[in-house]
């Protein structure tokens, strides 16, 4: 039995943050129905197509889409039609949760805002996620996760010393916001268990991200101080990223207390630091950081990053090799813990798909339960089983274009051409290290280990 067996979720959300929250519910047992407009499907389907091949139904072959939508059922529905709205409202009769990720004006225009729904569906929990939330002057401002790191002040405290604000190259922002939304949703669900009442969960991506700046806000309120980027350094810590043997190979080290400091000095052959009055306190070490970094870097430069990590950790020094995506996929610890499930990107290959609920609960994990749906893959069964429609009615709806249609914006030759990634440009600019010609073999080896129970 899974925690949310029997829960029904209607997922109108697109792209990333909303779909991730819905996916966790699906992995935990809920029946999640992903609703897409047949002519204008989830736009994430057009991002980074497998093998850079945009022929045929390429929108069904995006690993990017797969990871966020496994375990769900797919319903094609034109919400621009009265019949489409009627079908959606019919589904809401027996639904527990509705998830959407538009700016507020969109569902208001469709007559599907919380105010439109709450009287008729008093048990419904509606999670609405957008950049800036459901109220306030910026409620309808468009936003994507990639812009929210700077828009939420995270970039203003990040970056190399003396350089402009910096955004990370990992789009962690969307799951960070989506999983915060999920926490709100689960809080609401717990309340409904006892009160019988649903409610709206208002998720502002910005307000989720602002949680990371607690101390910075308090320092501003208390002392008027701001904290522009200081690279890898942080007051009160000895911290850096140091070169190791190999091309573009690095190790991160972060020392937080006296025991770790002594361990670092001894492990890197710098025992003299422990008798150096200048380095007796964290503040003193901070002043001499350049000098220490040179010595630490000299020690790391001749070592393999994994060997250096093992050696430092064994000595009691927090250290981590800097991994690229291939090394992350192959990481022994993550494989051993079972972070990945083997799932097909149909028409391409079986890929390692990460769990978005990675907790081990009484020795059990909650992973992907089945492939991400094609557009409208489960339309017929959903309409038949949940709404009692017969074949004739389904055929009629299909004929009328309510539950079927070509994704016309995705099919013209120029649309296909535009989605082919200019890999040679990436190589030339240095935004990628390489194209790994063996990536399919390496991925298959990892998939084989996952299927064999990893470990």
């Amino acid at each position: 039995m899974k925690p949310f067996d029997g829960l029904r979720v209607i997922d109108l959300s697109q792209v990333w943050a909303g779909p991730v929250a819905a996916r966790v519910l699906a992995d935990l047992g809920a029946d999640v129905i992903k609703v897409e407009r047949p002519t204008v499907p989830d736009r994430i389907r057009t991002a980074y197509i497998a093998q850079n091949d945009t022929t045929g139904n390429y929108w069904e072959r995006a690993p990017y889409y797969t990871v966020r939508n496994v375990s769900k059922r797919g319903l094609a529905l034109d919400l621009g039609s009265d019949e489409g709205i009627a079908i959606l409202r019919g589904l809401l009769e027996d639904a527990d949760v509705l998830i959407e990720s538009y700016t507020p004006r969109v569902l208001e225009n469709f007559g599907l805002s919380w105010n439109d729904l709450k009287e008729q569906y008093p048990r419904l929990i509606m999670m609405s996620l957008c950049g800036y939330g459901q109220t306030g002057p910026r409620r309808n401002s468009p936003a994507f996760g990639m812009g929210m790191e700077p828009a939420s002040g995270i970039s203003s405290v990040s970056g190399y010393e003396g350089e402009p604000p910096l955004k990370s190259g990992n789009t962690w922002v969307d799951p960070f916001a989506g999983i915060h939304g999920l926490g709100g949703l689960l809080t609401a669900l717990y309340h409904r268990e006892r009160s019988g009442r649903g409610q709206q969960v208002d998720v502002s991506m910005q307000e989720g991200l602002l949680q990371l700046l607690g101390p910075q806000f308090h320092d501003y309120w208390m002392n008027g101080r701001l904290h522009p980027g200081t690279g890898n350094r942080r007051q009160g810590l000895v911290r850096g990223v140091y070169p190791t043997a190999g091309e573009d190979a690095w190790i991160a080290i972060s020392v937080r207390d006296e025991a770790e400091w002594a361990a670092l000095a001894r492990a890197t052959g710098n025992d003299a630091w422990l008798d150096d009055d200048r380095l007796a306190t964290m503040a003193g070490r901070h002043e001499q950081h350049d000098e220490m970094d040179a010595a630490i870097g000299e020690w790391t430069a001749s070592r393999d990053k994994f060997a250096a990590m093992e050696e430092l950790q064994a000595a009691g020094v927090p250290a981590g090799a800097v991994l690229n995506a291939r090394e992350l996929m192959q990481n022994e610890h993550l494989l051993d813990r079972g972070l990945w499930d083997a799932q097909p990107v149909r028409g391409f290959a079986t890929v390692p798909v990460q769990r978005y609920f990675p907790a081990h609960v009484d020795g059990e994990g909650y992973g992907a339960r089945g492939p991400a749906p094609h557009i409208g893959e489960h339309t017929d069964e959903v309409l038949r089983d949940l709404l009692g429609y017969d074949d004739a009615k389904i055929a009629e709806l299909r004929e009328a274009g309510v539950i079927d249609g070509e994704p016309i914006m995705l099919t013209p030759p120029e649309s296909r051409a535009a989605l082919i990634q200019p890999i040679d440009v990436f190589l030339e600019s240095g935004s990628i290290l390489e194209v790994d010609e063996q990536h399919l073999e390496r991925m298959a080896a990892v998939v084989a280990r996952i299927e064999a129970g990893a470990g």
Partner: protein, 383 residues
């Protein structure tokens, strides 16, 4: 928000044994939902109390900013969990609770590193442990904060400039992700218990919660074999996507829009460029990003961030400001949402999500050991 609004987690008791940022953040969010969160910390105070910032930089166990942010709404019991008496009080409190929240590495006279022993001793308490690398696996004994975890999770390799060392962000993302999942996991399992299913132990690794967010870089590797590197503040294969300079600071520029070419041509007062392939074709911008910058930069340098973003947003371009903490503290939108309205009229960072019926509520943090008399004494043990 109405002060008399119902609390979703009313009647749920959580014991938090202090163990770093992740555990504290999970406990804070549960407290905001209305749970009774009792924080057990050392008699001299937990390190979060000493992390500052402090008014005028004068250390104050009860007055730190990190403490205010992470421990709001909790009770505090100060005792030594390594002492016999302290362990006895802790055990009584845990037995009385729905959830125990800590790290399995916390030194204590309790079998925190043995889930079976904990289950035997506390059969009615869900034990949620959050640690950097989890209870199992080859890195189980490793130590690390966000800087170290993010290196191993793929963040650092892709963050920074191509000709410089990888860099971590100025916030503790990985540890907060661990705490976020501690919150969500606790809630999922409390919901399961409401249906009659009691779980006993959840093992959360902040490393996994950080690694799972890296699907951009994993997906381009899985699908195409591309190994992404750090490259300024940009997304691979989409342009413009960067933090760009303007006359009075910076703006965040992103490519998504219903009709990017028209919107951008109108934005930069170059309508004759709307039909140019550089604006019309997304890939053209990726390939010829220097040309795009040459078109864009002069206009940006003649305008201020506020007017750029306002005009862009009117044109449905998802451009954004790059505010610092002072800008955000004075932001009209956040003020209109009451986001910084803290307890007692003091400013505070508001909750991460809004609930219409049972709002999460920030509250003041506890003085060290304020609940000792009430809770430790009533347990029968000696604090």
């Amino acid at each position: 928000m109405a002060a008399d609004a119902p609390r979703a987690l009313e009647g749920v008791r959580i014991i938090e044994i202090a163990a770093g940022l992740s555990v504290a953040y999970a406990g804070k969010l549960l407290a905001q939902g209305g749970a009774e969160v009792i924080r057990i910390e050392p008699p001299e105070g937990d390190p979060i109390r000493l992390a500052g910032p402090f008014p005028g930089d004068e250390p104050d166990l009860d007055g730190g900013g990190q403490h205010a942010f992470l421990n709001g709404g909790k009770r505090s019991v100060a005792l030594d969990v390594n002492s016999e008496g302290g362990a006895a009080v802790s055990a009584d409190l845990i037995a009385s609770a729905d959830v125990l929240l800590t790290s399995w590495k916390t030194p204590a006279q309790l079998p925190l590193d043995d889930a079976d022993a904990m289950r035997e001793r506390f059969p009615n308490t869900l034990y949620v442990s959050i640690s950097p690398f989890g209870r199992s696996g080859p890195y189980a004994d490793f130590e690390g904060d966000s800087h170290v975890i993010e290196a191993l999770a793929g963040f650092s390799y892709v963050t920074g400039y191509p000709d410089r060392e990888p860099v971590s962000l100025g916030v503790d993302t990985a540890e907060f992700l661990g705490g976020l999942y501690g919150w969500v996991t606790t809630l999922a399992l409390l919901n399961a218990r409401a249906h009659g299913e009691q779980h006993h132990h959840a093992d959360i690794a902040s490393y996994e919660t950080a690694a799972l967010t890296d699907d951009h870089n994993l997906a381009v590797y899985h699908g195409m074999g591309l190994l992404r590197r750090r490259f300024y503040s940009r997304v691979l294969g989409a342009y413009p996507s960067d933090i760009m300079r303007c006359r009075d600071g910076f703006v965040s520029v992103v490519p998504g829009a219903p009709d990017f070419a028209t919107s951008l041509g109108l934005l930069i007062d170059r309508p004759e460029m709307i039909d140019d392939p550089l604006l019309q074709l997304p890939k053209e911008r990726v390939v010829r990003w220097q040309d795009f910058d040459a078109l864009m930069e002069p206009w940006l340098m003649e305008h201020d961030a506020a007017e750029i973003v306002q005009k862009a947003q009117e044109l449905r371009l998802a451009f954004a400001l790059v505010p610092d903490v002072a800008d955000l503290a004075a932001d009209e939108h956040l003020a209109a949402r009451g986001f910084f309205e803290g307890p007692g009229g003091e400013p505070a960072v508001g909750p991460p999500v809004g609930l219409s019926e049972t709002p999460l509520r920030p509250a003041a943090p506890p003085a060290l050991g304020e609940a000792n008399d009430e809770l430790a004494a009533s347990s029968g043990g000696a604090a």
